[in-house]
Subunit: 108 residues, 2 copies
DNA sequence: TACAATATGTCCTTTTTAGGACATATCTCA
DNA sequence: TGAGATATGTCCTAAAAAGGACATATTGTA
């Protein structure tokens, strides 16, 4: 039963906070869209439509969370994304909030 | 700058994972809808429409995450919710996922 | 040589979600 | 006695999001 919950919650976090999960992935190493898609699918077990992913990556670049470099791999072009310091800050803030969530709530 | 991120991320987590945040609140002590609404607003800084909250509470009860007892407070009726063991499991699973997120990703 | 995989991108429709409107009733304080 | 807070509930519309279709091109493999 707890395992059913697991998949469900991971999927919800991944879908709703997809940008953060992508930043976390790219923080481990620079990556391009197609690889991110595959990583999200194998790591988190969540299918990501590329029609949602590529616009999101462009948005994250526009916001200054990512930068990209075009890389030639044979005749195919890869757009390799690297996380910026702003992106790292966003992830760090996220991590801090998670820590607080684990510490629990104190309600009067 | 990091403070701007903070509010934004807390709001996103609260809105997208509202049911989990509610379970976490009720886990600290039994609570009724109106109090939950106020707590979410003061604790998380997120406005929750009661038109979204009450149906959600009923759904969580139907799913077996919460049970309710009607409580008379003067002539007004309160529906006090208590978390079930199933609800606690859900929160615990969520906590475990958060812990793993903090431990980080290992990508080849 | 044909199909699957790699690689990136836009567009549109359907579904889902959010939030305010509608609805009712009690209590407290000025 | 009237307004604001407490308390719970449904309904509907408008906005947002998801996912598949459309679009193109290269590479590797059977």
């Amino acid at each position: 039963m707890a395992e059913n919950f697991r998949k469900e919650i991971v999927q919800r976090i991944t879908k709703n906070l997809l940008d953060i999960q992508i930043l976390r992935l790219i923080q481990t190493q620079p990556m391009w869209g197609y690889k991110i898609k595959k990583q999200v699918e194998t790591k988190f077990g969540v299918k990501v439509g590329h029609g949602a992913l590529y616009p999101l990556l462009n948005t994250l670049e526009q916001k200054g969370f990512l930068t990209s470099q075009k890389q030639q791999k044979g005749g195919r072009t890869r757009k390799v994304y690297t996380i910026t310091s702003k992106g790292k800050q966003y992830v760090e803030t996220y991590n801090n909030i998670l820590k607080e969530q684990l510490e629990g709530l104190d309600i009067k």
